[in-house]
Amino acid sequence: MILAYNFLKEILKEYTPSLDELTNKLINIGFEVEDLIKHPLNDIITVRAKNVEKIESLNNLYKVEVTDGENTITVVTSWEKIKIGGIYTYASPNTLILGKTLEKKQFGDVISDGMLLSFKELSLNPDFLSAVEREGIMELPDDTPIGHNFYELFNLSAPLLNLKVPFNRSDCYSFLGILREIGAAFSISIPQEIKNKPNFIYPSFNSSKIKRETAKKDFKGVKILNKEGCPYYSCTIINNISVNRSPYEIRKSLFSFGIRPINNVVDIANLIMYFYGQPLHTFDLNNIGGREIIVRTSNDTEELNAIDGKTYPLTEEDLVIADDLHPIALAGIIGGRDSEIKNNSKCVLIEAAFFNPLYINRTSERLNINTDASIRYSRIVDRTRTKELALMATNLIATICNGTILGEILEYGSDEYKPQKIDFSIGDFKKVTGIELSKYTATHIMSKLEIPFEIKSQDYLTIKVPPFRENDIKETVDIIEDILRFVGYDKITPKASPFYVKYEDENYNYKVKNKLRNLLIGLGFSEVVTDSFVKDEEISLIYGNDINNLLRVKNPIKSGLSFLSPDKIIGFFSVIQHNINRKHTDLKFFEIGKHYMKYSEEEFLDIILSGNRNIENWLEKPLKVDFYYGKGIIESLFIRFNVPYKEKKNINSKIFDTDESVDFFIDNSNIGSFGKVNKNIRNYYDINQDIFYATIKLSFISKYILQIPKFTPIPQTQEIVRDIALVVDDIVKVGDIIDKIKSLANSSLTNITLFDVYKGDNIPEGKKSVALRLNFNFGLNKTSEQIQKTLDEIINNVCYTFSAKLRK
């Protein structure tokens, strides 16, 4: 909503607050000033062209003599539509235009003493101008006074404030509404005639000049078929209008609101809307088929060619204004092209109605149309003023367009408004805000906001919600907020809250994450946060057509970005790519976050590693990350938290290399996997180094991480260490041997280390040597013979199970 500071000055006169005061106050009562639109304050003068002559010696140039009322000045222009009697803007030499100083210039034998300006040279927002005006020299309405500063004449010498109106404040989508707020904020009385004097919009208005005829045009009337969507509809008809450019005074007001002038019919309708918040629509009655209007819902065979040049498909949800056959407007949103007012329109029908916001919102959202009308109707308009404003608009249009009003206003449905009553106790204010409030302050603010009330008792008021606040005042807290806005949010002072509630339990999920995070940074991994959205193309790279269980949004931010990632590998690849492009090739990252499936979201720890294990160092050569290095990290993590994991060959994975990957289990549940990312994926991202990825379901390991340690006495006896080397078939899995030894030795085995796997000299073809160090602690009660026997038994059993030979 645009508020012109100069316009405000015209009304508030000497009571007008300074621009700074105004801006600050508006913010403090809930109207953010989104920006200040400022214009250059050059000395640009309005002039009339007295004489136009083509310069014979030069192509396409005209010598123009203009007058400011006193002096005659000669300028040269190339604008072919320049005409005698036209009013233009003129800048004299030495004026700064778009950063350049204007100079006298000679064209043939004519000296141009300054120049006529285009809208661009005037630094005007193109939105202020009609299409014709955007090209070439700016031509002003015929009745524009000459010899005046252009910016002052059009109220542009002071900034326009672009206000952000809160959603609930439908009344403030009008100048009058904002004015009411400013009045309350500064305790200024607003002149009452502003509310209903047409002279305020058009000072030359004279009601005695209005032409009326009782004769009815052949208009059959209005039928409201959907009363829920349209509780009230009124219309008036003006005949024999001449559609033209609006006069200067109207133009000036339009500029003050930042509205683009269109023609004298539409401009008036727009001004009434900006002034009072009531949208009006104007139809060319001669283009309304069957000379009747039907307010009804549409159906999906219909469409509307709207004035914005687009064609909108309609449904039975949409409320339309139709003629005998077709929709001619989307009610309260946008008009149709066929029935719009054109330069040759002769008879106008002015619509002023009350539409149900539900219908407006639903349709404007589905079709994504936001118009000045829909913004206001979607938030409820003040229906008690609809008729009055329709009449004001009719009188103004009839005067300005020189038309004849036919008959009386036609009304359908009901514009009745039943105000809601709200009880408000002064004491409630403190309960919500912590601020003391006096009855005087409360009633003063209510009066300024034109909210009627009755004093019930010392502490009690009954408030009658005025029609212009129907949308937002619904209960006591709304009154409290309104008073607080004017008492001042800055009066809220901090007060220590006593704790009435005690929570003993911690957030365990947070604790788990914190422990993992701290452990991983110690291991050299940095935490990353990746996007949940991944490209459809990336999904099909990994999951092919197997996408039915994946989570997908219906309306992605751009096409091809509809999936939420079922793993983190895709997000990680964008991190890898980014870093490798920046020449960081040693990468150790982790993320604790969600994986998404169609029916679930689950938290995972995901890890990625690639490049060198350690930073380059004079003591040891940097080694590349490989399968066993990465797996060791995951194992160490499990061991650290006593996770009783088992491993199996990874099968059927879409992410990993078929050989270099492993699945982790607890009992029969798959808790995660680790492995080398397969080449297909790597190649897709154009990455030339091996990438290792681990993914672990948090829910499976968190209970081990949270386990409270239980102390067991430290053994008093010495550990026994045995090294054994077994020669087994190459295909025997070392993991199986270790598991077997563990199960045979029970709790006496304190540690088992694989210290060598060897193949080559002295080992027969197809065999390997597996060297293990076993640490035992048998406690106090065993003799060395018994121990030896137990060890022998274990070794024999292992040898038997795996057809192994003990290597001496």
């Binding site: 309960k431 996007d531 920046r582």
Partner: protein, 341 residues
């Protein structure tokens, strides 16, 4: 077979030679002689082509095996020479200033750092820390919060829909709604770092994915003064000094009175700097007293209980605290960025 013999001789010759190698330069020469482009191994490989087809494969295997053994021996010899040449073996001067064996320690993401701080602040303020789902239904994300189906505020929070009734939550407020549905008042709950989604175009201050902190207090006797105090404590905790909190009126359907929350700029102490665009104040996000309709929706009697709530982006706090000028940096995860935290 002649070829096999040739291979054996070569092997013998190589191992004799390598035993006499004393320096890296000699080793390099040896390497070129055997493994180089015109080396002996390459020569034998080219001889392979002259063998009959049936012998080719086996001979190739033998040759490859030798090549591998030679490669390994050279590597081993190199390591041995390097070890022997090490500085310490040849000096009596102990140089304490040589950098030690350093390793890289990881970094916690700045968003997690803020989450950590908030966690401890709100634990100490006796809040219960709660989590929720990112996939929500319309009711909990909108309707229960007094945002009816066609409410214009829904446009403000343009959402990603999964189906008619499910969407990616646009804020963490549904977590508070569910808390009020299940826990009896009075209550003090907070969601820290919950991931939220809005269909905002990406720029320096917006990403479709972001994280929220959102707190809620419901009690018999709480008002905006209590909110103000809690927020001041929170800011003191994050910035390590007294920060002023102020409110300006703003509209959110689920709070009334509703406010935009501002803090005094922690960098210039409200003198005006580029972080606060010379205003001395920084906007954080929404707060206010819980709307009575929200209480009625979750079955809490608004005549008996009052409540306040506040919520904004973790990203916003991190940007202010660490002076980060572009929100996209959080999701880019550049090592140079992460290293700074």
């Amino acid at each position: 077979m002649a070829f096999e013999e040739e291979v054996k001789n070569l092997e013998k010759e190589f191992f004799e030679e390598i035993n006499n190698v004393k320096s890296i330069s000699e080793l390099d020469e040896l390497k070129i002689r055997y493994l180089g482009r015109k080396g002996k191994i390459r020569k034998l490989f080219s001889d392979l082509s002259e063998l009959p087809l049936e012998d080719k494969k086996e001979a190739g295997n033998i040759l490859n095996s030798l090549k591998n053994r030679i490669t390994i021996s050279i590597e081993e010899a190199e390591a041995k020479i390097l070890e022997e040449n090490k500085y310490f073996k040849n000096t009596n001067f102990f140089d304490y200033s040589i950098p030690g064996n350093r390793f890289e320690i990881g970094h916690i993401h700045p968003l997690s750092l803020i989450v950590d701080e908030l966690y401890f602040i709100f634990r100490s303020l006796n809040f219960k820390i709660i989590d929720g789902y990112e996939i929500e239904d319309n009711y909990h994300n909108f309707e229960a919060l007094n945002i009816s189906k066609w409410h214009p505020a829904r446009k403000m929070q343009d959402s990603f829909y999964i189906d008619e009734d499910h969407l990616l939550r646009t804020h963490t407020s549904p977590v508070q709604i569910r808390a009020m549905e299940t826990l009896k008042p009075p209550l003090r709950v907070v969601t820290i770092g919950g991931r939220c989604y809005r269909r905002d175009a990406q720029d320096a201050t917006h990403t479709p994915v972001f994280h929220q902190i959102e707190g809620l207090v419901v009690d018999r006797d709480v008002n905006l003064s209590d909110l103000s105090w809690i927020l001041k404590e929170m800011m003191k905790g994050i910035f390590g000094k007294e920060i002023d909190v102020k409110f300006i009126p703003s509209y959110f359907p689920f709070v009334e009175p509703g406010a935009e929350t501002l803090i005094s700029c922690p960098f210039c102490l409200s003198e005006g700097c580029n972080v606060c665009s010379n205003s001395g104040w920084i906007e954080l996000g929404g707060s206010g007293m819980v709307h009575p309709q929200v209480f009625r929706n979750v079955g809490i009697d608004p005549d008996k209980f009052k409540g306040f709530a506040f919520g904004w982006g973790i990203e916003r706090l991190a940007m202010i605290k660490y002076g980060i000028n572009d929100i996209r940096l959080f999701f880019e995860n550049d090592k140079e960025f992460l290293r700074q935290f």
